[in-house]
């Protein structure tokens, strides 16, 4: 009898010991001074891992170059940058949240950058509570409330930049007059009605007719929709879909005999991958996507130190990867958003989050993609959204080449944003 008690007690203690030992040692040796820890929650598992794996190495090179230069100047000190990555599969919000938590509680980062998942609303409360600056895409910022979330900035205005992106494409194809907006649609929102004023503005300013045809989430067979689009007279498509959706759509439109340019909101992955999705080199022609290489931008002025650094990153990446160019998206979402935070810290002269936010909010900041004054006061209650060059590339042959730019300067511009209209 007694033995049983002992065994069971042993078992309980054993289990407790296992769980407790999995806990990182609470008392770390005091870290060497002047380290700036930056976190990044990106997808590294699942189908979206292609993005994460493409962006991570470029950000790591940026970190290495800064540290090789002695560190990042903040006030009188130079800070060594430590970069931490966590797997945030972006389509699983609890996982994104866990990733954010592990970065904040475990690694104790002072900022989380390059977040482009759909879980902003769930991640923000955590970052806010711990005064960690969150630099996210506007794609899931629907519930953003400036009073509740004073430590959020938006370095990738995915929603707002879409119109500029589309117009950049249309400008490059003056022979096309009809643009079909597509992507997944949530719900019984009457998109036509909501966007009617926007479509009017587009017609007035650019002479482009907008039609809209959306499909339910999870659709992989776009054929019925493509046929409908042809009937409606579409000449160019603009989609908010993932690279998978874009590639499939390109493939299926090619099978139906259509050759419309398809423009995507995000950057195009390596053309070998796109070819796999689209099915053939022929099918992937005229796919357009976000294209943010600083050294190729024409309509924005980039500060020499950022152009310099961009070229260094590019050279370093190419030397490590057999001459391949880094992923364009790494210069859209990855490296620039890191730069936003670093610039803010330098401008404030301190890592204190309140002071950094004071400088960033409504401030004018040099970035890898140009100089922007943060805007969004009218639309979001606080000027915390960066501008964007909205440069587009197009696939010609086997390559993705520069097409055109239509820079986004001000989020509050009526053509830039429709979130306000939806709220009304």
């Amino acid at each position: 009898m007694k033995r049983q008690v002992i065994y069971i007690a042993l078992a309980v203690v054993l289990i407790l010991a296992i769980i407790t030992s999995c806990v990182a040692p609470a008392a770390k040796a005091p870290a060497p001074p002047k380290i700036l820890k930056i976190g990044c929650a990106m997808p590294f598992s699942g189908s979206a891992s292609l993005w994460g794996e493409s962006i991570r190495p470029v950000m790591e090179i940026y970190r290495d170059l800064i540290n090789a230069d002695g560190g990042w100047q903040v006030g009188d000190d130079k800070y060594i940058i430590e970069l931490y990555f966590a797997d945030g599969p972006i389509f699983s919000i609890p996982a994104d949240v866990a990733a954010a938590r592990s970065l904040i509680y475990d690694k104790q980062v002072s900022a989380i950058v390059s977040y482009f998942g759909i879980g902003y609303s769930a991640v923000a409360p955590i970052t806010t509570a711990e005064k960690v600056i969150l630099n996210s895409s506007t794609i899931s910022m629907g519930t953003f409330n400036t009073e509740r979330e004073p430590y959020s900035i938006f370095g990738f205005p995915a929603v707002e930049m879409s119109i500029n992106q589309a117009m950049a494409v249309m400008e490059a194809f003056p022979q096309y007059k009809t643009l079909c907006w597509t992507g997944t649609k949530g719900g019984n929102v009457d998109i036509e009605k909501i966007y009617a004023p926007v479509d009017e503005e587009i017609q007035k300013k650019y002479g482009v007719r907008s039609i809209r045809l959306y499909y339910p989430e999870g659709t992989t067979n776009y054929t019925p929709y493509l046929i409908k689009m042809a009937e409606m007279g579409a000449e160019v498509l603009f989609s908010f879909g993932t690279p998978l959706e874009i590639g499939l759509m390109a493939r299926q439109r090619h099978q139906l005999g259509y050759k419309w340019p398809i423009a995507a909101n995000g950057a195009i992955l390596d053309t070998s991958i796109v070819k796999g999705l689209a099915g053939s080199e022929e099918a992937m022609q005229n796919i357009c996507g976000d294209f943010c290489y600083p050294w190729l931008l024409k309509k924005v002025q980039i500060a020499p130190r950022y152009m310099d650094m961009a070229n260094r990153i590019r050279a370093e990446y190419k030397s490590k990867n057999g001459g391949k160019e880094p992923y364009a998206g790494a210069f859209g979402v990855g490296v620039p958003t890191m730069g936003h935070y670093l610039e803010g810290v330098q401008m404030a002269g301190t890592t204190d989050p309140d002071k950094v936010m004071k400088v960033l909010r409504g401030g004018t900041v040099e970035t890898f993609l140009g100089k922007y004054t943060l805007s969004g006061k009218e639309t979001y209650g606080s000027p915390v959204v960066f501008g964007f060059p909205c440069a587009m590339s197009i696939i010609k042959g086997n390559e993705s080449v520069y097409l055109n730019e239509e820079p986004l300067w001000d989020v509050d511009h009526p053509l830039a944003d429709v979130t306000d209209l939806i709220k009304k």
Binding site: M1, K2, R3, Q4, V5, Y7, I8, L10, A11, V12, L16, I19, T20, C22, V23, A24, A26, F44, S45, S49, A86, D87, F91, S92, I93, P94, A95, V97, A98, A99, R101, S102, Y105, D106, I118, G119, S121, A122, A124, P125, T128, A129, S140, G142, T143, N145, R148, G186, G187, N188, V189, E217
Partner: protein
């Protein structure tokens, strides 16, 4: 005291020790990441308990995530639009889930086991589709943000926004309450009847037991608990939206209960939920891309060696330790 009495009270002693441990734990171990994992594990415990309760009555509900969603959205709406305080929102969420379960249950529980399961599967999917599309109520993909509650107890005010610790204790309390409730039901006459409905429906009917009544009771109770879990989870995340509830989630409840042990009403689901939740998150953080493979293989291996769940360990473990000691004691020819 004689040995028999101690032996009889042993489970209770251990249980109290375990509960004391869980209460003291976060005060000693300050790792906030671990605490946040445990809080989520707690939500999963409630979720698994709900699934187990339905299973107890002989049915597989593969759509429990639907009730998490109903509870979650109800809680969010009550908190943000109606401004109800924390506990009332939780209660309201539980009630709305229970009502939905009741209405659905009286219809779909009539079908045979397999059809019911598929119906719940479909319902789970439909709940998500409704969440995505019913913009006027659920705000579609944008979701609803919930402000962290501010609870005042006399002089003490706990601001939920700055620290997560109160959440830990609340979910601990909820899990204990739910576990108590289901355990008592299981031990009572109601539990016996429910089990007979599950194991021998034909005979039970002949004895005059109204099958549907008991199935519906368990289904509704399960939804009540699950609804509260959903609302709590939403408060914890400060947000609710369609991506939180996936079809895969409902099957996770099944996995948790099987791993924990299907034949126990309470300890099986709880153990399973904690293990799956904890190791699942740990693996994701440390393994990244390899996680699905490792997770799947582990589940298969666990089921192979312990088809009746980890709860079995409590019986096997003492015997195994005893056998170790016995071998050593046998003499030089038995040396390892």
């Amino acid at each position: 005291m004689d040995k028999a009495k101690i032996k009889a009270k042993l489970p209770l002693i251990l249980l109290l020790a375990f509960i004391t441990f869980t209460i003291i734990f976060p005060l000693v171990v300050k790792d906030r990441f671990l605490i946040s994992i445990l809080i989520e594990a707690g939500v999963m415990c409630l979720f698994a308990l709900g699934f187990a309760a339905v299973f107890r009555s002989g049915q597989f509900s593969l759509g429990q995530a639907a009730f998490l969603a109903v509870g979650g959205y109800t809680g969010a709406l009550l908190a943000s639009k109606a401004g109800l305080p924390f506990w009332l929102s939780l209660l309201g969420a539980g009630l709305s889930s229970a009502i939905v379960a009741f209405l659905l249950g009286i219809v779909i529980l009539r079908m045979g086991g397999l059809y019911f399961s598929i119906a719940t599967l479909a319902l789970g999917e439909i709940a998500i589709i409704i969440a995505k599309n019913w913009d006027n109520v659920t705000s579609g993909m944008t979701g609803i943000a919930v402000n962290a509650p501010l609870v005042k107890i006399g002089e003490l005010s706990i601001n939920f926004a700055t620290t997560k610790l109160p959440y830990y204790y609340i979910i601990l309390l909820l899990v204990i309450l739910a576990a108590l409730m289901f355990w008592r039901i299981d031990r009572s006459r109601l539990g016996t009847v429910v089990r007979s409905v599950a194991v021998a429906p034909v005979m039970s009917e002949q004895v005059g037991i109204h099958l549907m009544k008991y199935r519906v009771i368990m289904f509704t109770l399960a939804a009540f608990v699950t609804g509260i879990a959903g609302a709590f989870y939403v408060y914890y995340l400060s947000w609710v939206g369609p991506p939180l509830f996936s079809g895969a989630q409902s099957t996770v409840a099944l996995i948790m209960c099987v791993i924990g042990g299907l034949w126990s009403a309470v300890s099986g689901p709880i153990i399973g939920a904690i293990i799956v939740s904890y190791f699942g998150t740990m693996m994701q953080i440390h393994l990244e891309g390899l996680r699905p493979l490792v997770f799947g293989v582990l589940v298969i291996v666990l089921i192979w060696f312990m088809p009746n769940g980890l709860v079995e360990l409590q019986y096997r473990f003492p015997a195994w330790i005893k056998s170790l000691f016995k071998k050593k004691g046998k003499g030089p020819d038995a040396a390892a």
